[in-house]
Amino acid sequence: MMTSHIPLLIPATFLLAALLIPLAALLWRRLSWLLAVAATGLCFFYAVKGLAHVTTAGRLHYHLAGWQPPFGIEFVLDPLSAFFSVFVTGVALLALIHAGRVVAHEVSGVDMGFYALAMLLLAGLSGMVVTGDLFNLYVFLEISALASYSLIARGDPRAPLSAFRYLTLGTTGAAFYLLGLAFVYMSVGSLNLADVSHLLPDVGDTRPVLLGLSLMVLGIGLKMALFPLHAWLADAYTHASSAATALIAPIGTKVAAYVLLRLMFFLVDPQYLRDQTPLPAIVGCLGAAGMLWGSIMAMCQKELKRMLAYSSVAQVGYIALGIGLASPLGFIGATLHALNHACMKACLFLVTGNFRVRLGHSTLPRLVDDLRRTMPWSAAAFTTAAISMVGLPPLAGFFSKWYLVLGSIQQSNWVFVAVLVASSLLNAVYFFRVLERLYLTPLAPPDDTDVAAAAATREAPASMLAPTLVLAGALLVLGIFNAWIVSTFINPMIPSRLGW
């Protein structure tokens, strides 16, 4: 009985929590955090249950108000959306548990607003994942975007300006999506994703559809921070509070990547798209360029959060490259990398939050080697995630890159292979720079103020350390069980017309 309602329950629970949190905060301020964690935990439970149902018994459709699909809005849990909703809610759950102390430390006084907006953000993101209607997707996109502008605006003094820049660019991206959707609607006459993809082969003149699709990809590319549309990302992530960054950075761009997967693999026939337009090739090349540019920019940064933000640009490039390959191996690589990168980036940002709460900063040259003694677990979690980012087996990051390299070799695209290898080496350069500061520098003289601060500090509290370590452990588990994940969850989601 309840299983059939899961597609609706995930976004609806978040929306309900967003309404309840301001009321709960009137009773007891800490209740807002508890309620946010409880709602996210409940949604994670629903998502896992939905994924189990989808893998064993087939997809779930929920028709809002009982209207049948081409006319009403439909929420769908198919293998792809179930998989994404599990890791989006899972990573958000860990980030929110971690946020309890960070919010009190960095943006104290507005914690009720933070959690209510976080719930709205997650309602939007999970709604984008489960909806089967292209216009409804736009509405959820704007809900999540508006919540994230407000979340990002609280932080250091520069945060409002970077949030404003993100707002103007993000709104333009959404406007491009809506404009493209108008072309698709004018040609096809339907907004239901499955219905549009069913009707498309009968459309005589496909040029408006392809133009509309290109505009939609452009808009989503802006949301996803695809190179060269990534300008908003670095400032927005750097100046926001650590809690907001740790929540938005791992999953926000991943959900945009999910929409890109939906558009380019499910809305239209990927083979047809590749024959008719250079769109997949362009997305792949921009991804490759972003991998190099993001890594090089990350190497130049002195601030840990800013370095990780540029690293996000590079990692989104991997996903775009996989999408651009438009082949089964590219699809597997992109999906698996979305999962892996969400866990890796969440772990790295949580450790940054630990440093900020305990040391009061996360500037690289001021990190001293005493941290490995005073905060051993945080340093170890950072190291695990960093090595996974570089792509050393048996950690998760290696395997998604492996599928991407295989996909590139299969298409004899040697440039992509070279870029993948080069970008991994650049990853090694900027992450080992941090590891060197943590582990390899000789002991600094004790009269230095930073050393004194580091020596006086303690390991992060358990509520922050536990999510960090769970994510670091998850990287190992995801790496070891990657073959099982690919065969059980990812293979069934590959569209049949891709010829797998």
């Binding site: 216009f135 508006l146 407000s150 707002l167 103007t168 709104t171 333009t172 809506l178 108008a182 609607y185």
Partner: protein
């Protein structure tokens, strides 16, 4: 040529509005003007949907006994209009959030000119 202008003039205007909006967002240095540009881009897209639903000689989708029910050409498609109601709400909310951000920025730096802002932030 005249046929094209007669049939598509609304679209030409909308393209112009869209491009002026983009130009304002990219080139103008004042944050308030950027918001105006953003609003123009949104309005152009909303009007694009509305214009696309226009049919010559058609009326609203309310049953009119004087007209034939069977002929779909006599009635407008109401869906784009209803969808754009939602989009207008979204646009209004976006404007609200952007004004809130501008107020915060102005209170802190006493200016909305981008070069001055960047100077003061150093």
């Amino acid at each position: 040529m005249l046929e094209i202008i007669k049939g598509y003039y609304a679209y030409f205007f909308l393209v112009a509005v869209f491009c002026i909006g983009l130009f304002g967002m990219m080139v103008k240095r004042n944050l308030m003007k950027k918001v105006m540009g953003m609003s123009m881009v949104q309005s152009a897209v909303i009007l694009f949907w509305i214009v696309s639903a226009f049919k010559d000689g058609a009326t609203v989708t309310v049953l009119d006994p004087a007209r034939a029910v069977e002929d779909a050409d006599l009635y407008l498609n109401p869906l784009p209009h209803t969808l754009m109601l939602t989009a207008i709400v979204v646009a209004v909310v976006t404007l609200g959030v952007s004004f809130a951000l501008l107020i915060v920025i102005y209170r802190r730096y006493r200016t909305l000119e981008e070069p001055l802002l960047l100077e003061k932030m150093q």
